[in-house]
Amino acid sequence: MRLDTPLAMFAALAMMLCTALPAFAQSAADDERAKALFGELRCVVCQNQSILDSDADVARDLRSIVREQLDAGRTDDEIKTFLVDRYGEFILLKPVFSAHTLLLWIAPLLFIGVGGFLVLRVLARRSSTEQPAAALSAEEEQRIAVLLQRGDGDHAS
């Protein structure tokens, strides 16, 4: 194909774009997936960082392993299982929800429940034991009447 006419050049360019763009889009999507996965995996050396944030040697190796497996078409779960088999569930920054982690997950609810129950009980007991204020004596009633009347007088003048 000769590329000396503008039309031919345009056609060639369009063809190039059409074949290249899907590949670009694909690798961008893979990048997103890889990054999301990196963020969920603990760096076993630094421990409170994900392998996305860590510069440790092993973290770098783990990143390249995750990428290779993504390229090989493995699912996120398959990749996680691969790593859990080697490093244990500790490598997952977010613990799995299952029987042995149940206490971990429901502990906050448990604390709120027990704490709330205790607070309510204390409040209930306090209101039931509180003595109603004693009625005013005749002398006090009289003093109030005097004070109120004086207040009225002040207001009128």
């Binding site: 421990q47 092993v58 190796d61 392993i65 080697r86 490093y87 244990g88 500790f90």
Partner: protein
């Protein structure tokens, strides 16, 4: 009778209240004891329990360390999963650039003298020449050495901090793991585990 039970079941209000007031102190005391026990146990909490313990050793096949020869002048064989079966084995992940490896080397030399276990090495991300010089000057405790140039086999072993040492029984099951150099305390535990595995 019913009345008697009732007075026994409920202590006087003042005593009940003082028990409630003691509760935070008791909880604090219990926590303090738990924390103190953890602190004084000498356990390193950043150490990962190995996911491999009780499981078969990973499948791997590593090339030999080219140029490494034993005392008889024969090349030291490579290392793969099959080499682990039949004997109780210590697999040690090492490198010439790793200072703690140098520190634990005499311990490995001593362990290599035992005839009931074999010591095998995985040379991690090392330069062949440097590795040869390292083993040449300090002595070679390994009956087999595999070179893991890219560090991928090490990851199959759950590796995260060089040096690491794994105890594999005769059936090829991982029994114990030491992260970092084999210190006196870790050596004692290792010896116990070896005794358990060899049945002596």
């Amino acid at each position: 009778m019913v009345e008697g039970d009732k007075t026994e079941a409920t202590p006087p209000p003042a005593r009940r209240r003082s028990l409630w007031l003691m509760a935070p102190v008791l909880v604090f005391g219990a926590l303090a004891i738990v924390f103190a026990m953890q602190l004084l146990s000498g356990r390193d909490v950043s150490e990962l329990p190995s996911a491999l313990i009780g499981k078969p050793a990973p499948t791997f096949e590593l090339p030999p360390l080219a140029g490494l020869r034993d005392d008889a002048g024969q090349p030291v064989p490579a290392l793969s999963t099959d080499d682990l079966k039949g004997d109780v084995t210590l697999v040690n992940i090492f490198a010439s650039w790793c200072a703690p490896c140098r520190a634990e080397h005499p311990v490995l030399m001593a362990l290599a003298q035992r005839d009931d276990i074999k010591v095998m090495g995985i040379n991690y991300k090392d330069n062949t020449e440097n590795a040869l010089r390292f083993l040449g000057s300090l002595g070679n405790p390994y009956s087999n050495v595999g070179t893991d140039e890219r560090g991928r086999a090490a990851i199959d072993w759950g590796f995260y901090g060089i040096p690491e040492t794994l105890l594999v029984d005769a059936q090829g099951i991982v029994r114990h793991k030491i992260v970092g150099p084999i210190t006196a305390q870790k050596f004692e535990e290792l010896q116990q585990r070896i005794a358990e595995v060899t049945g002596k």
